[in-house]
């Protein structure tokens, strides 16, 4: 009977010990104040936190971003390897813009940055999502400032993430109109499984333009073999055929 009356005290003691042991836990996630969910996504975010399923909901935000960005037709303008016949345009200020030879994903997409940022607000460890967003913003949508903002936010929770730093550097060289430096900077990233396909595409194109056909062909082959994005895969196959047809498979 005495043992029975001790049970509640023992239960409280155990609970306290558990809570004490867990009290050193610090969440690796951004605080709720940083979650800037679009209105139609607030419920999903609540569910993500309640079910402890941030990764899954970050994935779903990534899918939403891809759907928002739409299906792209990837097409390089140059008719043969090494020909820089791709579109260049002038903006209102008279500055020349380069498409890097790829006509994909153009448009205003005003929600792109908030949606891309929200992916890493929900799961800051989703490096591939952040890289995809930053590369799209910087090299497809030509909004490098927004890409830098996204990567800077990513670095806040992953300060040692070399891939973010690499893309930031590539954006810097791109702004300085130094395509060779851009290609050299992103080269180490290409072997990384999280490297977004458009960075590979950019690297392949820049190598092709610089006459490094062997390197370009290797990257196109990698895109064709590993990417599940049909637009990029189709373009890579086309480019590989062109490179083979021009007998440019060998590096110069």
């Amino acid at each position: 009977m005495a043992g029975r009356s001790l049970l509640p005290a023992a239960a409280v003691l155990c609970w306290g010990a558990a809570a004490m042991s867990a009290s050193s836990y610090r969440s690796p996630f951004p605080p709720p104040s940083e979650l800037r969910a679009p209105l139609d996504g607030a419920n999903g975010d609540m569910l993500a936190l309640a079910a402890g399923a941030r990764r899954l909901f970050a994935d779903l935000w990534f899918v939403r971003l891809m759907q928002y960005y739409g299906t792209r037709e990837v097409r390089e303008e140059s008719a043969e390897p090494g020909h820089e016949g791709h579109a260049h345009s002038l903006d209102a200020g008279g500055h020349e813009h380069c498409d890097h030879g790829a006509d994909y994903g153009k448009g205003s997409y005003p929600e792109f940055l908030p949606m891309a940022r929200h992916i890493i607000e929900v799961d800051p460890a989703f490096t591939a999502g952040a890289l995809y967003g930053a590369a799209s913003l910087a090299f497809n949508l030509e909004r490098p400032a927004e890409a830098e903002e996204l990567l800077t936010y990513g670095l806040k929770y992953s300060p040692k993430e070399w891939r973010y730093l690499t893309v930031l550097a590539a954006i810097g060289y791109s702004k300085a109109k130094d395509p060779a430096a851009v290609a050299a900077t992103i080269a180490p990233l290409l072997k990384d499984p999280d490297c977004p396909v458009m960075l590979k595409q950019l690297a392949a194109f820049l190598n092709k333009r610089a006459g490094n056909y062997g390197a370009a062909a290797a990257i196109y082959s990698d895109i064709a073999a590993t990417s599940k994005d049909e637009a990029y895969v189709a373009n890579a196959r086309r480019e590989l055929e062109k490179l083979a047809g021009a007998g440019a498979g060998k590096p110069r």
Binding site: A11, C14, W15, A18, A22, A53, M66, G129
Partner: protein, 253 residues
């Protein structure tokens, strides 16, 4: 104590085999298989992130399915035995109540572990079949899920001994599970609120098990799961068990 060990095992095995034989278990297994397979569709939409989505979707579904089944079992096990009078046949024998409760809890956790293992085997097969690697922390994610289930299932046993129905036990335990995942956010809000409000919120947090501590699946927990995580899970589980035992020892049938 040593003489009661066979009783604990007998109750645990009986509880486990009853679960496995029940139709609900089969339904849960079918659901899990279908759901995990359906995640292939979602995976395709993620294009180059298909492997990640497939892994995340599968692990989340595995946890939710096991949670639903384990909570259903835990919240109805004791009331069902009382309702069918099976408990009369048990407690009219020299069965210590602590041994019976330990057996019931052990049976529920064994069922949860087997469910996790079966669903994980389906999921891993699916990943390998699709040519993807199994995520490196997969086993730890399952271990974390099991620790979460242990904490919440024992809590459900405790609640089932004073709640008015299995449904209310399910609801209360479900709320606890949700709050357990909010613990880190709630702590942030308490620290930010400050003053009396912050103090009260901070104090209330001690009543909620921090399930993020075990949430390897979500990348919330440190890898590998450390001693504090295992200790906390064991202590929370033991606490709920002792609370349940206190109620059960006073309970009449």
């Amino acid at each position: 104590m040593r003489r009661s060990a066979p009783v604990v095992l007998a109750v645990a095995y009986n509880s486990f085999f009853e679960s496995v034989r029940s139709r609900f278990f089969t339904l849960a297994a079918v659901f899990a298989f279908t759901a995990v397979y359906a995640s292939v569709l979602a995976g395709v939409m993620a294009v180059d992130q298909e492997a990640r989505l497939l892994a995340d979707f599968g692990l989340a579904l595995i946890e939710l399915t096991a949670l639903a089944y384990a909570l259903f079992e835990a919240s109805s096990a004791l009331p069902r035995e009382a309702e069918t009078k099976t408990i009369y046949l048990v407690f009219s024998r020299p069965v210590p109540r602590w041994a019976y409760l330990a057996g019931k809890l052990g049976g529920a956790l064994l069922t949860a572990a087997v469910m996790l293992a079966v669903m994980a085997a389906i999921h891993v097969s699916l990943l390998l079949f699709r040519g993807f690697d199994v995520p490196p922390a997969y086993a730890w994610a399952l271990a974390g899920t099991f620790l979460k289930l242990a904490v919440i299932v024992s809590f459900a046993f405790f609640v089932s001994l004073f709640s008015t129905s299995p449904v209310s036990t399910l609801v209360i335990s479900g709320i606890m599970w949700t709050l357990g995942h909010f613990a880190a956010e709630a702590r942030f809000l308490a620290e930010r609120a400050g003053g009396l409000k912050g103090f009260l919120l901070g104090a209330a947090l001690w009543l909620v098990p921090n399930l993020q501590l075990f949430n390897v699946r979500d990348g919330a927990a440190a890898l590998p799961l450390g001693l504090p995580a295992f200790f906390s899970a064991a202590a929370w589980t033991l606490s709920s068990y002792l609370g349940a035992l206190w109620l059960l020892s006073r309970k009449e049938f």
